[in-house]
């Protein structure tokens, strides 16, 4: 079964204070589809004045919103989930068009996961409780969580609606108003969501600002009327946002990417069974979402005594991946999200070759026919080399796997941790001791054990080292969007006696 490019309006505006409004400067930018480089629509090219308006709307709404009951807020979050679910296909199709990822992913992963994140945070705020402690017979300490107020969120283009749904529900559940800036490469599903849920929240509680980083992102991240900034992206912008936050003494959370190791111990090949089949797929997951995942398992570490046999199957499985029209439900690998990503990835494959890495499969752009010839496709590529090479150290953000071998546990851990980053890692083994000890030794915020690329709402996710700080998903994320009010109550009628 196949789909085709969905219908769009000619242009889309910002969503501020409960309605769609044209950008103050009257400018729009053109958004194109990486599938065939065709025009999708024009989107608001916001400036500082638009950001000011959104921040003012959010500040006007925050007191009333912060005082709504969790019952009311949970009901609204559930309503959003129901609305996305009722329009799942429409969201999936638009996401595929805007990002280039295959429709099988948006139908079965992006959108269903996004829905679940709204439901998860609707659920946890109903069950959560504060704390009260009797410090002595006459003194009670009560901790109440209060919202921060207005939260700015800047999200990337690799999972547009899902990243929105990672960031918005916990901030709203915690009682904050939100101003979110989607990436300019993928503004479509955030806009569609606002169209569908325009009446769910009171005006000013959710706001969407479109535009470019230097023109709209920077004024938002540095705005005095914002109480917190949450960012997913790269290190230099992360550093700048922290700088701006330091001027406002605001908290920030940062998710800044990785170069995640995926480690296969020899016991995975003890049997030729369903588990080995799962492990092979686990190694090929580097090509999932065209490698445009901050936790992309882009470094494959294989124990030397199974290396040849294991790689033979990994290469065969990689070659079997269908790269074709992203609107076709059978397609497994789609288009890279933009021309500059496409160029960057090819340039990395080139430097890998120059550094002496051996191309085991792929290694080139993928030329598709018809309109797709104008799109940005790259063959899933496996490069064999060593961990000091740049293709082992830098995030390529494409379907490029760098593979090397290791002798024993100590060497596996040493290679795994020899990176600036620490976001994700995978460990595959049938050995019960390794199942626990190796993940504990890896410096990364998420270690998948005998699985990879699972992102349930109630498992915390975030980085060590240069991958950032703070966690997303899970109940604990709520605390990144709240502060603690401590009420210290004395029931003692007697004075201190100092004065």
């Amino acid at each position: 079964m196949g789909y085709s490019k969905p219908k769009f309006k000619e242009k889309y505006e910002n969503f501020i204070n409960g309605e769609f409004v044209a950008p103050v400067g009257g400018q729009y930018f053109e958004n194109t589809s990486p599938i065939d480089n065709s025009l999708i629509a024009k989107y608001a090219r916001s400036q500082k004045e638009d950001v000011d308006n959104a921040v003012a709307a959010a500040n006007a709404a925050k007191d009333a919103w912060g005082n709504t009951s969790v019952t009311e807020r949970a009901a609204m979050l559930n309503k959003v989930a129901d609305i996305i679910e009722a329009n799942l296909e429409e969201f999936a199709l638009m996401e595929t068009c805007d990002n280039g990822k295959p429709i099988r992913e948006t139908l079965n992963a992006d959108i269903p996961l996004a829905i679940d994140h709204w439901r998860y945070f609707a659920a946890v705020i109903r069950a959560e409780e504060g704390s009260a402690t009797e410090l002595d017979a006459n003194t009670l300490s009560i901790n109440i969580k209060e919202p921060l107020g207005v939260v700015a969120q800047i999200i990337p283009w690799n999972f547009p609606l899902l990243m929105l749904s990672w960031k918005m529900p916990p901030a709203l559940a915690a009682g904050n108003c939100v101003i979110l800036k989607p990436a300019e490469q993928t503004p479509s599903t955030a806009t569609l969501l606002m169209e569908k849920i325009a009446d769910v929240f009171p005006p000013g509680v959710i706001n969407i600002i479109h535009g470019f980083g230097p023109e709209a992102g920077k004024p938002l991240a540095s705005h005095k009327g914002v109480d917190k900034v949450a960012f997913t992206g790269e290190t230099t912008t992360g550093q700048l946002i922290m700088q701006y936050a330091s001027k406002n003494l605001n908290p920030v959370t940062m998710e800044l990417g990785g170069k995640s190791p995926n480690i296969f111990f020899n016991s995975v090949m003890d049997e030729d069974d369903t588990f080995l089949d799962k492990a092979i797929e686990g190694a090929v997951l580097f090509a999932f979402n065209q490698g445009e995942v901050c936790t992309c398992p882009s470094r494959l570490l294989v124990q030397e005594d199974i290396y040849d046999a294991f790689m033979e199957r990994v290469i065969a499985r990689t070659k079997a991946a269908i790269q074709a029209d992203p609107y076709d439900v059978n397609t497994m690998v789609g288009a890279q999200a933009s021309n500059d990503q496409y160029e960057k990835i090819l340039s990395y494959i080139k430097i890998g070759k120059e550094e002496g890495a051996k191309v085991l499969t792929g290694g080139e752009a993928c030329k598709l026919d018809g309109d797709l010839a104008n799109g940005f496709y790259i063959q899933p590529t496996i490069l064999e080399g060593h961990n000091k090479m740049r293709v082992f150290q830098e995030e390529i953000f494409g379907p490029v796997l760098s593979v090397t071998k290791f002798k024993d546990e100590a060497e596996a851990i040493e290679i795994a941790n020899d990176t600036l980053y620490g976001l994700g890692a995978g460990v595959w083994t049938r050995d019960a001791h390794q199942l626990y000890q190796i993940p504990r030794a890896i410096k990364a915020g998420r270690v998948w054990v005998n699985c990879y690329h699972a992102y349930p709402a109630h498992a915390p996710f975030g980085g060590y080292k240069k991958s950032g700080f703070g966690r997303e998903n899970h109940l604990m994320m709520m605390n990144h969007y709240r502060q603690t009010k401590n009420m210290l109550i004395s029931y003692d009628k007697n004075k201190l006696g100092f004065f």
Binding site: P156, A183, F212, P214, T236, T237, C294, I351, E394
Partner: protein, 120 residues
Amino acid sequence: MEYKRVAITEKAIEILNQLKEKHGDLIFHQSGGCCDGTAPMVFEKGEMYLDDSDILVGQLEDVNYYMNEDQFEYWKYSHITIDVVEGRGSSFSLEIPLGVRFIIHSRLLTDEENKALNTC
């Protein structure tokens, strides 16, 4: 002969000059990590807090090109050419509103370059 780690294409110089006219003095900072990372980003001079951990890798048309020392460890054997392509980034880099994006082409340093640049 003087060896350099960084070069810039004519096309990229044109964009850089346009940005200089609008914004004044500029710097490049090499980003790492997710999404739009691993790209050279251009900012107004003074916009970004720099210290000893930012290595001055080269100078392009009076614009300093910096990289964090951790990243430089892996890049010191590479020769970098800054170029520009059509595209969109979602960072704060100043060229993005022009509908173009600075990117990097790299190659390994030759033996002579490596000897001159990496031994002291």
